[in-house]
């Protein structure tokens, strides 16, 4: 299945997806040293986003969050790509300065943690290429 949104940044990556159903704050919400979600209000608290493709509705909290995304990318603990329903300044700027492919305008209800997806920031497409092996 292919979902069509809008691509921001560059690159095509493939990987396993982690889906949060609620907005995410990066400042104070993600540990840049490990990539583990620490946001108390997050439904994926305790999960790692390192090397994963992270899907969530939108960013929230301080604009310093952009620098946390940058730190995650720099330390090698960052996500491979970001998928959001609604891109705002924090996540967009974070993705651009970190060189992380971002696709916005995706209905994330169609995505489930554990799926394998291909994210194309050039065309804005998210393709589901496999369900979780259980």
């Amino acid at each position: 299945m292919k979902l069509k949104g809008r691509g921001i940044g560059r690159g095509i990556v493939e990987g396993e997806i982690v889906v949060s159903r609620v907005p995410l704050s990066f400042l104070g919400g993600v540990d840049p040293e490990t990539g583990i979600i620490t946001d108390a209000e997050s439904d994926i608290k305790g999960e790692s986003i390192k090397g994963k493709i992270l899907a969530f509705p939108r960013g929230k909290g301080s604009t310093v969050g952009s620098y946390v995304i940058y730190a995650l990318a720099k330390s090698g603990n960052g996500p491979k790509a970001l998928i959001v329903e609604d891109a705002e300044t924090i996540v967009t700027v974070g993705a651009i300065i970190s060189g992380i492919p971002l696709v916005t305008g995706i209905d994330i209800k169609k995505l489930k943690t554990g799926m394998r997806v291909r994210v194309n920031a050039e065309t804005g497409e998210v393709e589901i290429i496999g369900e979780r092996d259980l």
Partner: protein, 385 residues
């Protein structure tokens, strides 16, 4: 978004990696907010200065940007810095040096308009600090969105910003009419009124009726609104430059009365016994506010037992020094701190309670867990131990 040939070249890396990265940021923002093009800006004012907010990660970003050869291309000033222990001070200095290396003027203030970064009506800007954004839009009639640190820096480097949000006339219209049905005279009352309006309109554009503020009242009121809500532009009937063109037909009308203001006041009513410092100058004090403080201290005529900090911009501090106000304030246990902000400093490590005349400072200090007394300048100075 449409890009000129020159902008295309910048985006392709023709002018180096820093300009390219800055263009990527502006183009991405332009795309998500449906801007049709970039517009030139007259000045920038950058957030992400205090080490408390920026942290190691933000510093790394700045170091990498400097290494790529980043230079600003328009007049650019900074938000206030933080103060802290020796390690903090060292990091803070490095941050200022990094900005200086990019050609940024190291005037770290939330009132750049008292110094050389004074926009005029209709100027497009890329400013970050919330009270400065509010003042530029509402009082001066300039046009700026509430930028984040990296986006204002990117705009400063390119000298342009995507045309969306408050750069467009249609987004500068009022979303709410606020009818003030209480007597609002003294400056802290304006600050309290702003606090209440921010809670009501959130990120809207209020049109306020029934008040006659002076310019310092406008500054205080706008700063509170931008803290309790995220108001970047307001209009005051008969007072601010765009009030005549601000109203459209279907706008929600809301009354604010004495009870609404008392409700805000009641939330910040710490006893003097719980106060271990006084903060004035949030946003940074004007010369007139400093004069008022000095005159009140002279009338009181005995030193304060709790330290008094007055935060100011460098340029206003220089005038206060020259005119002798600094000396008077110091005589009574006060101190003028230039270029810094206590809201972006680790104050909760040093103090447990504050008295202030600023709704904005009250909002943030309370969120840090401090006891807060919000009171008028006169009462604070005359009634403090």
């Amino acid at each position: 978004m449409y890009l000129t040939k020159e902008e295309e070249l910048a985006l392709s890396g023709e002018y180096g990696p820093a300009v390219q990265k800055a263009m990527e940021i502006l183009v991405a923002l332009g795309d998500i907010y449906n801007a049709d093009r970039l517009i030139p800006i007259k000045s920038a004012q950058i957030a992400g200065v205090s080490y408390k907010n920026l942290g190691e990660y933000g510093m790394q970003f700045l170091r990498d940007f400097v290494e790529m050869g980043a230079k600003v291309s328009v007049y650019t000033t900074l938000n206030p810095a933080g103060i802290g222990d020796e390690e903090f001070t060292e990091k803070q200095q490095e941050i200022l040096d990094l900005y200086r290396a990019m050609g940024v003027e190291i005037t770290s203030t939330c009132t750049p308009y008292y110094g050389p970064n004074l926009p005029k009506f209709g100027d497009h800007l890329a400013w970050s600090e919330s009270s400065a954004v509010s003042f530029a839009n509402s009082v001066l009639g300039a046009r700026t969105n509430r930028e984040g640190g990296p986006s204002s820096l990117a705009a400063a480097i390119v000298g342009k910003t995507p045309k969306y949000g408050l750069h467009l006339e249609e987004n500068r219209k009022a979303t709410h009419v606020i009818k003030v049905e209480a007597e609002v005279k003294e400056r802290t009352e304006y600050s309290i009124l702003g606090y209440r309006i921010g809670e009501i309109v959130k990120d809207g554009v209020p049109y306020i009726k029934g008040i006659r503020p002076d310019v310092d009242d406008l500054k205080a009121m706008g700063a509170s609104m931008a803290a309790s809500g995220s108001v970047a532009l307001y209009h005051v009937e008969g007072e601010t430059p765009e009030w005549r063109v601000a109203l459209t037909d279907d706008v929600e009308k809301i009354a604010v009365d004495k009870k609404d203001l008392q409700d805000v006041r009641d939330r910040f009513s710490a006893e003097w016994g719980a106060v271990d410092f006084i903060l004035l100058g949030c946003p940074h004090a004007s010369l007139r506010e400093i004069k008022e403080i000095a005159e009140l201290l002279r009338m009181r005529n005995r030193p304060l037992k709790v330290p008094l900090f007055v935060t100011v911009s460098k340029s206003v501090k220089a005038l206060a020094d020259y005119l002798g106000y600094t000396e008077i304030i110091e005589r009574y246990n006060g101190k003028l701190l230039s270029d810094v902000c206590l809201v972006v400093s680790p104050v909760n490590e040093w103090y447990s309670g504050v008295a202030t005349n600023s709704g904005k400072a009250a909002f943030y200090f309370k969120s840090f867990g401090l006891n807060v007394r919000l009171d008028s300048l006169e009462k604070i100075i005359m009634e403090a131990p």
